[in-house]
């Protein structure tokens, strides 16, 4: 038979064409008749002959089945039969189906949701050409700017270095620079109203190095980035373009940002979100416009202003090792030549020794989220995996009980000719149907859950801009997971179910209560479930405990009744001089005059918003290892301390006598006072930034204020110095207001008061200090909540499992219980008989679970510690953030985090 004939015969029998079946019957009948005739010829009576012929052939159905299995169509036919039968069996026991699909959906859904987050944060490659050839200079952990001489692993680089390196480099086919800060700002198109816009400043080489092609128009090129102020163009993101109706005429329109017009020259391709995971700028603007976008920054010409990430593409054939050697050589030469001058000090030379660039892969983009979330996500997926295991064990148990109840059915089917493998296949099909149904519901859950997770995990009102909807990769993961689970919970019951003593099973309507191995398997599963759920509960309690500890941490300031408004002051269009200070004072004054407002103040930081830190030296005190720690700084209004309810413990706070031309003053906190002046009063002493003795008298200490948390709840007490904004002019994002009464009524009143002073200052965000404190523990909160949820889910599943096991056991032992009671056993005896079994199982589960839980907690605690020490070293490096002599100028509204 040719392939074509094979195909048509197969299709015909598949489509239920009776002819194939009829022909088979006819052939069999013919065979029987011929056989019988032959036997008659050999001397049998016709009856004997027919009987003998039938005995020889055996079950006609079985023969037909085997004939049919010669063709390919049987496999499909069997599958359809199995599917059909499975659906019927499942529909017959809706409660079982519901429990099974429900628990699988939760298990698979949780894993899918967490995996899709993991995929985005940790695994997915950038949507650019050959991302594997891209390298990042440093690890991309810091945001902002650093000012000092590079003296370690460099993370941020200056624009002059980028230029010089691009020219000298021989190992990369291209180098691109990206401003580490994504600027949140307000802008408008043509006559439309102002809207929040996020802009990323990039070098002209950015798109060509990444190998990205425009969706519309053109992307940025070197000409846009030639001379400072010359490249007033912008490339829109696809998402922004889509939000504006995918209007082709958007190109060549001007977008007005902070007093400048930028011509939109093109649209980036769909799915391209830049190079930092978790950010997705609306516009890419050439770095040549840095000063226009951010007036305080003059990084284009200043080699001390290091604020750029560098991403480069390896030349074909170049290895990462060659690239690292080459890069470091050029880097050191540059520092030696440009930074150190003719006669470098020994310290400078020591710094140069330490300075280096670590090349890391940029294939997956830059991501502080990756650093922050890797461990929590790993913990969560481990927890979700355990829950899925419990769900599988549970299901295996339910299936075992079911297959015991169906043993007569299986025995019957095997007796009339079904092979064992056929029944195993059918049972596995049932498992797959369950698993697939669970997966389908699970994916639907995950769709919602991954967004919820992202919102819960994001600290701050701004949800990290990421596409976390499950994509094909995630679906493939889920499919694999589903197949795996189906085998896991389906295989053992299917094999057990078909290991039958046919005669026995057929004769007994219900198996006697003999302690079968099947029963001990399900007991074992229950024990495992109890142990696993114990582990999950222990982990959940650990996370909850650490969260509770965090919420009890004394922040120093009073977090209640303080509003924190994000103002976009730059929109007022004032320069950085006394006029700006005046405006700020007016706003503070006007708001403080409102009924219900106790105090109001601008500040560089409130809490958990990043940091500004540097070395300090104190006049007249030689530097030792005890007093040369870095300090954190904050620039504030004169009523900041009363707004935050921080009492002055010595000296004075700031007042209106601290003017731009009066002596520079500072207030330090208790920790700094103790660190620098353990014996005496710090009032009247002087200090300065850096290790240069000529600057050590720059600021006079006029007061000591109570300690308050600065970066986070987990930090150790830090030395902090405060400066009045009247002596350090800058734009602020934060405006904090202490009030009494209803916040909802307060906000519009404050808004009106600000508009009365200057109508051009938009409020980008409103939150409260208490919310900021809560948001600083978003990750811990997420883990605690989810682990508690999963722990309870596990307990719930185990309860279902125990209930299923017991009801099955009791049903099996009905007659035994009857006999016992007839013989005089009391109800309580029987109850104890059953309960004892559960208690024994629970006891074994606990005995097994406790050591595992303890060990697990130990591991988690160790991992958490490691993560923390990782973070603190990050802070060490972060302290070089933002140099003293170079004001960051302004903190942009909507850019919540300023340091790594």
């Amino acid at each position: 038979m040719g392939i074509f004939a094979n195909l048509t015969t197969g299709l015909r029998s598949l489509l239920g064409d009776g002819r194939v079946e009829r022909e088979m019957d006819e052939e069999l009948r013919g065979f029987l008749e011929s056989s019988a005739e032959q036997k008659v010829c050999a001397g049998m009576t016709p009856e004997q002959a027919v009987r003998a012929a039938r005995v020889e052939m055996g079950s006609a159905n079985s023969v037909k089945h085997r004939i049919r299995s010669a063709g390919w169509e049987t496999a499909i036919e069997n599958l359809c039969q199995d599917l059909h039968y499975s659906l019927r069996m499942l529909a017959k026991s809706p409660v079982f189906t519901l429990v099974a699909v429900g628990s699988l959906a939760l298990g698979i859904g949780a894993n899918t949701a967490i995996f899709s987050l993991m995929d985005v944060v940790m695994l997915r490659s950038l949507p650019v050409e050959d991302p594997g050839r891209l390298v990042l200079f440093g690890q991309g952990r810091m945001v902002g700017s650093t000012g000092g001489l590079p003296n370690g692993s460099s993370e941020l680089f200056s624009y002059p270095f980028y230029r010089s390196f691009s020219e000298k480099n021989e190992i990369f086919s291209g180098v691109a620079a990206i401003d580490s800060v994504e600027f949140g700002t307000h802008g408008s198109i043509a006559d439309a109203g102002r809207e929040m816009m996020r802009a990323s400043l990039v070098s002209g080489s950015y798109f060509s190095v990444l190998g990205v092609n425009p969706e519309r128009g053109r992307l940025l090129n070197e000409a846009d980035d030639k001379t400072p102020g010359s490249g007033a163009v912008a490339v829109a993101s696809y998402a922004w373009w889509q939000r504006h109706g995918s209007d082709p005429s958007a190109i060549n329109k001007a977008v007005h940002i902070e007093g400048h017009d930028y011509t939109i020259v093109g649209v980036a391709p769909q799915g391209f979100f830049g190079t930092t995971v978790g950010e997705s700028p609306d516009f890419w603007i050439p770095l040549s416009m840095e000063k226009e976008i951010s007036p305080g920054w003059n990084g284009i010409t200043d080699k001390w202003f290091q604020s750029l990430y560098l991403v480069a593409r390896l030349k074909p054939g170049a290895t990462a090792v060659q690239a690292a050697a080459n890069t470091n050589l050029v880097f050191k030469q540059y520092i030696r030549g440009e930074y150190l001058g003719q006669s470098p000090s020994p310290k400078d030379l020591a710094d140069l020794q330490q300075a280096h660039v670590e090349l890391t892969s940029a294939a997956r983009g830059l991501s502080r989220l990756r650093v922050e979330f890797s461990l929590p996500l790993e913990i969560l997926i481990a927890i979700a995996g355990l829950v899925l295991l419990i769900a599988c064990a549970n299901l295996a148990n339910l299936l075992l009980a079911r297959s015991a109840a169906r043993s007569r059915e299986f025995a019957m089917r095997m007796a009339i000719g079904a092979t064992r493998s056929r029944i195993v296949r059918q049972l596995l099909t049932e498992s797959f149907v369950l698993a697939l149904a669970g997966a389908a519901v699970g994916i639907a859950l995950a769709w919602k859950a991954s967004h919820l997770l992202l919102t819960m995990a994001s600290s701050g009102p701004q949800v990290a801009a990421m596409n976390v909807s499950p994509d094909l990769r995630v679906l493939a993961f889920t499919l694999l997971l589903t197949v795996f689970t189906a085998f896991l919970f389906g295989m053992a019951p299917a094999i057990r179910a078909t290991r039958l003593d046919l005669n026995g099973s057929l004769k007994q309507s219900r198996g006697a209560a003999k302690p079968s191995s099947r029963f001990s398997l399900s007991r074992g599963l229950i024990v495992v479930q109890i142990a696993l759920s114990l582990v999950l509960l222990a982990a959940a309690s650990l996370f909850l405990r650490s969260l509770v500890n965090l919420t009890r941490v004394d922040t120093g300031f009073d977090r209640q009744n303080v509003l924190v408004l994000g103002l976009d002051e730059y929109s007022a269009g004032l320069p950085l001089d006394a006029r700006l200070v005046n405006l700020q004072k007016q706003i503070e004054g006007r708001v403080q005059a409102l009924p219900g407002v106790h105090a109001a103040s601008f500040s560089m930081f409130t809490f958990n918003q990043g940091m500004w830190s540097d070395d300090i030296s104190v006049q007249g005190i030689p530097r030792t290892s005890d007093n040369s720690h870095d300090a954190l700084f904050n620039v504030i209004g004169k009523d900041f301390f009363s707004t935050m309810s921080l009492p002055i413990v010595a000296g004075r706070g700031f007042d209106s006598t601290d003017k731009i031309d009066s002596p520079k003053v500072a207030v330090i906190n208790q920790t700094m006072a103790k660190m620098l002046f353990p014996e005496s009063s710090p009032i009247g002493h002087r200090f300065g930034f850096g290790d240069d003795p000529s600057h050590s008298a720059d600021f006079e200490i006029v007061g000591v204020v109570k300690n308050a948390r600065y970066v986070g709840l987990q930090e150790d007490p830090q030395a902090v110095a405060y400066f009045p904004y009247s002596q350090r002019v800058q734009y602020f994002g934060n405006f904090a207001v202490r009030y009494s009464g209803e916040a909802a009524q307060m906000i519009p009143a404050i808004q009106r008061a600000i508009a009365e002073v200057n109508p051009n200052i938009p409020i980008a965000s409103t939150s409260t200090l208490a919310e900021q404190v809560d948001e600083s523990t978003a990750t811990q909160r997420l883990i605690a909540r989810l682990s508690a949820f999963f722990g309870l889910l596990a307990v719930f599943l185990v309860c279902i499992g125990i209930y299923g096991l017991l009801s099955y056991a009791v049903a099996r032992r009905t007659s035994e219980i009857g006999v016992r009671m007839t013989l005089g056993a009391k109800r309580s005896n029987v109850r104890w008989l059953i309960l004892r079994e559960v208690l024994v199982l629970a006891a074994i589960g606990i005995v097994l679970g406790v050591p595992v839980a303890l060990e697990g907690n130990h591991l988690v605690a160790k991992a958490a510690l490691r993560a923390q020490s990782g973070r603190s070293s990050e802070h060490d490096r972060g302290r070089r953030d933002a140099d003293c002599d170079r004001d960051p100028g302004r903190i942009f509204a909507g850019t919540p985090s300023f340091a790594g």
């Binding site: 022909e23 052939e27 011929s34 085997r66 010669a70 063709g71």
Partner: protein, 109 residues
Amino acid sequence: MAQKSGDVVQGTLEMLILKTLALEQMHGYGVALRIEQVSNGVFRVNPGSLLPALARMERGGRVKSEWRSTENNRRAKYYMLTAAGRKALKDETNAWGRQTAAISRILEA
């Protein structure tokens, strides 16, 4: 009936069927009968093995079939060899010859 008869040696059924059909085309029972007779009743082919084997070989293109009347005026499905079947028979006969010769040598050694 011969009491010592049994199933054919494993793996040789298809070869025996091919050989039987090589002489003349016949229906399923004819094949079974012929094998039993020629082997003097040593091999007895069960319809439960024969018919699936024929179906398999038909799908594999080694035999083809045709409905025809028998000598008793009944309709029966007659099987005949195809070119592929003839070639398969030759190959399998050769292979079998080599194997039995080898086995004999071992047994006689």
